[in-house]
Every structure is written in structure tokens, then in C-alpha cells.
């Protein structure tokens, strides 16, 4: 049952969505199933909370490394959860806490990407092998071709950059995309036919 029921649900849902898509019938039914998927995803969020609590409670009990931070994390998590449950998700304080912490922290984190790119570029572009040199030459052309100063110093790099970005880069990207799309399609068909059952790994 643990294996069969999820498989039946998967097949029935997939067949309904495929019929709705290919034959253009009852589009609202496909949308409804999509909504169910979103709602069920929200409900099982509790599993994550149980896992988070379990991991950090053990750290606190054992007085493991940074156990005090685990207390802070659990207090904030449950405090915010209780606030949301009591006051509702549209409450001003609830929204303010999110907008004043998660949003700027997210933006700050995204900004860090620039430093990681520089660090990775330094490692990738060290001309230590033939492959690295092949990577380095077009990268330098594109870098100079895209930067205003680079194009001023080497005017022809702009045209070369256009060619690199439009021809070899697009060809490689499309090849990767085609292969990945076919791989994704086959994976989906395997789940539909029941050859792969990732949703019921525990057996019957």
C-alpha cells in the first residue's frame, strides 16, 4: 500500500494533466490539481520543523558546539511561528520583522556573489593547462568587449564578443539544453510508468 497508493495517485494525476494539456479540455481541473500540490507542500512543512527541532535539541542536550546558537534559532523559529499563528500573516509586526531582516539579508547575500565570482574566475583562468588557456582567451575577449574601457582600448573586441556570445556560446547552450530536456522527459516518463518511485522508497 505504501508503494501502490502513491503510484496510483501519480498516474491518475499525470494522465489528467496530460489530457487537459494535449486536448485542451477542463483546464480548471489541471489548475485545481496544481493548487492541491501547493497546499499539500505547505502542510508537510511540519516535517522540516520536526527535523530542525530534533537536530538542534540534540545539540543543546549534548552541549555540542555553538549550542547557545541552537537555542537562539529555536526561540526565533517558534516565536515567529507563534506570532504568525496568533496575529496572522498580514499582521504589521509580522510583516515588518520579515521585511526588516530576511529581505536585506537576502540582498546582502546576493551581493556576496560578486566576490565569489572573482575568486572562482581567478582559479578557473589560471593558465595552467591547455583547457584553462582555451577558457581564458575567449573570457578575456568577452570581458574586454563588454567593459566600456576595454572596448575603447580594443575596439574590435566588441565585434568578437558579439560573435562568441551569439555563435559558439549559443550553440553549446542549446546542445546542453536539448540533452537536459530529453533527460528530464525520460525521467518523467519513468516515474509515470512506475519504473522509478522516489515517493515510496520505503517499500510495501
Amino acid at each position: 500500500m505504501k508503494n501502490t497508493l502513491p503510484y496510483i495517485i501519480t498516474v491518475v494525476t499525470a494522465v489528467i494533466v496530460l489530457i487537459c494539456t494535449f486536448f485542451g479540455v477542463a483546464p480548471e481541473l489541471a489548475q485545481e490539481l496544481d493548487q492541491w500540490s501547493v497546499v499539500s507542500g505547505a502542510v508537510v512543512c511540519a516535517f522540516g520543523l520536526v527535523n530542525l527541532t530534533s537536530v538542534h535539541m540534540k545539540t543543546i542536550k549534548r552541549k555540542g558546539e555553538d549550542w547557545d546558537l541552537s537555542i537562539v534559532l529555536l526561540v526565533i523559529t517558534y516565536g515567529y511561528l507563534i506570532l504568525g499563528l496568533v496575529k496572522g500573516p498580514t499582521n504589521e509586526i509580522y510583516s515588518w520583522i520579515f521585511n526588516a531582516t530576511a529581505v536585506p539579508l537576502g540582498a546582502t547575500f546576493y551581493a556576496l556573489l560578486a566576490f565569489y565570482i572573482v575568486s572562482a574566475a581567478y582559479r578557473a583562468f589560471r593558465a595552467k593547462s591547455r583547457d584553462a588557456v582555451i577558457l581564458l582567451i575567449p573570457a578575456m575577449i568577452v570581458l574586454f568587449g563588454r567593459a566600456p574601457l576595454g572596448e575603447y582600448l580594443f575596439p574590435f573586441f566588441g565585434e568578437w564578443t558579439g560573435w562568441i556570445m551569439d555563435i559558439p556560446a549559443v550553440a553549446a547552450m542549446r546542445a546542453v539544453l536539448l540533452g537536459a530536456t530529453l533527460g528530464a522527459l525520460i525521467s518523467a516518463i519513468r516515474v509515470l510508468l512506475g519504473f522509478d518511485r522516489p515517493y515510496a522508497t520505503g517499500g510495501e
Binding site: C45, R190, T201, G203
Partner: protein, 255 residues
């Protein structure tokens, strides 16, 4: 009868379903080989290093849900990685982005430990969930990499801009890194920062390659047939377009 522009799509999907079913049946009597994928052969090395240094193997399955084929492919690889860590008594940590996936990953890892006769070695702490919020998850994973200094980081699945951050953080702590994704914009980052990279459709072949199950390998054969078909259509389209007579093909494919 058909929705507009869906006839060719319908025929393609039905043909692929028949082809997958046919090859899986045929795999009972015929075997195929998959070309060597160094990234997957390095898994033993990555786990071995973790055992020697008594540090963990960190597995990142990306941010896709169960509806994402890359996540399904990643689950197949995780199963093999977990078996290897169980065999070598290495510490495996899987950082999961979505709470609803926690039980799925627990089951996959638990089953692998059971299959290796190490059921007692499995603990729920092998699976760690931090946040469903994208940035929260990424910050937690990067923090964990710097703090716990994993010996190996295996990243397989659907990644976005965070791919480079995990890979760079892993490189900075000296971890052996295997990265793979079908997200075309993130592949260069894995190539730049990882020791081994799986590119595009290679991650879908990974589970078949690791397990060598005829049933899985058979599906890779259908993928190759699909590539031959698409390549043929691209060549035909290029030739017809050169002579200015590609309109009929364009019209045919738009049905």
C-alpha cells in the same frame, strides 16, 4: 480534438513512452554500455577522503522539488553515495532545501544504510533542513561548509546563482568537489570551481551509470535516440533554410 499546436507534442510524448517501455523490456535480454563519467567514478575517492580525515561528506541536492526531474536524478545518485558512506563508515550529511522532501531523503538514506547492513548507523541527523527560504538555506549551507569543513561536497540537482557560492566555499576549505546540473547557466560555475563536473544530461545518466541496472541503462538508450532525432531535424532544418525551403518543416512541427 487536440489543443492548438499540440499534435506533434502529443505524438512525441507517446512515441517516447512506447520507446522507454520497449527498451526496458528489451533490457531483460540485451545490455548496453554507458561511456565513462569520471565525476561519478570519483565518488569512492570523495567518500574515502572523508573516512581518512574523519570529516563529513556533504550532499546538496539543489532546490528542485519532487516534480523536478533533476531532483529525481539526484535521489538516484544519493542512494549510491549513501551506500558508499555506509560501507566506509563515513559521515554523510544531506542538506535539504524543502521541508516536504525531508522524509523522502530520510527514506533514501535509511534504505541505503539498511542495504549495506548498517541500519544502526543511520540517524535522522544525516538529513538537515534549514529553511524553505532560498537565501536562508544558502546562507546556512555556506556557513556549515566553513564551520564543519567537509572533506567532500557532492552537488547534484537543480541549482541557481547559489551554485557558485557552495562550490567556491567548498574549494576554499579544500574539499573534493563533484558538481552536476542541467541548469545551463550554472554549469560554467561547477566547471570552474569543482574537481569533477557533470554537464547537462549526464546527471540523468548518473543513477544508471552507478547502479548499472539494465532497466535504467535502457532509458539512456531512448535519450540517445531522441538526440539523434533532434540532431537530424536540426541538420535538415539548416539545409532547408539554406535553400529557402524550410517553411513546410516549420509548419509541420507547429501542428
Amino acid at each position: 480534438m487536440f489543443a492548438e499546436g499540440m499534435i506533434v507534442d502529443f505524438l512525441l510524448v507517446v512515441t517516447m513512452i512506447i520507446a522507454v517501455y520497449y527498451t526496458v523490456e528489451r533490457a531483460k535480454t540485451k545490455t548496453w554500455k554507458i561511456r565513462r563519467l569520471p565525476g561519478l567514478e570519483a565518488i569512492d575517492e570523495a567518500v574515502g577522503r572523508a573516512t581518512e580525515t574523519d570529516r563529513m561528506v556533504l550532499y546538496l541536492p539543489g532546490f528542485g522539488g519532487l516534480g523536478d526531474p533533476q531532483t529525481l536524478a539526484s535521489l538516484g545518485v544519493l542512494s549510491d553515495v549513501a551506500r558508499t558512506t555506509a560501507r566506509y563508515d563515513a559521515n554523510l550529511v544531506v542538506a535539504v532545501e524543502y521541508a516536504d522532501l525531508v522524509p523522502v531523503y530520510e527514506e533514501v538514506v535509511r534504505n541505503s544504510y539498511v542495504a549495506e547492513g548498517k541500519a544502526d548507523a543511520f540517524t535522522p541527523e544525516h538529513i538537515r533542513w534549514f529553511s524553505d527560504h532560498y537565501y536562508g538555506y544558502a546562507v546556512a549551507v555556506i556557513g556549515m561548509i566553513y564551520k564543519e569543513r567537509p572533506a567532500s561536497v557532492i552537488m547534484l540537482g537543480n541549482f541557481a546563482f547559489d551554485a557558485l557560492m557552495y562550490a567556491e566555499a567548498g574549494a576554499q576549505v579544500g574539499a573534493i568537489q563533484i558538481g552536476g546540473t542541467a541548469s545551463s547557466t550554472q554549469i560554467p560555475f561547477f566547471v570552474a570551481a569543482c574537481d569533477y563536473a557533470l554537464i547537462g544530461e549526464e546527471i540523468f545518466a548518473a543513477a544508471a551509470y552507478l547502479t548499472q541496472e539494465p532497466n535504467r541503462v535502457a532509458s539512456i538508450v531512448v535519450e540517445d535516440w531522441g538526440k539523434f532525432l533532434v540532431t537530424g531535424l536540426v541538420l535538415l532544418g539548416a539545409i532547408l533554410a539554406t535553400f529557402g525551403t524550410a517553411d513546410w518543416l516549420d509548419k509541420l512541427l507547429s501542428y
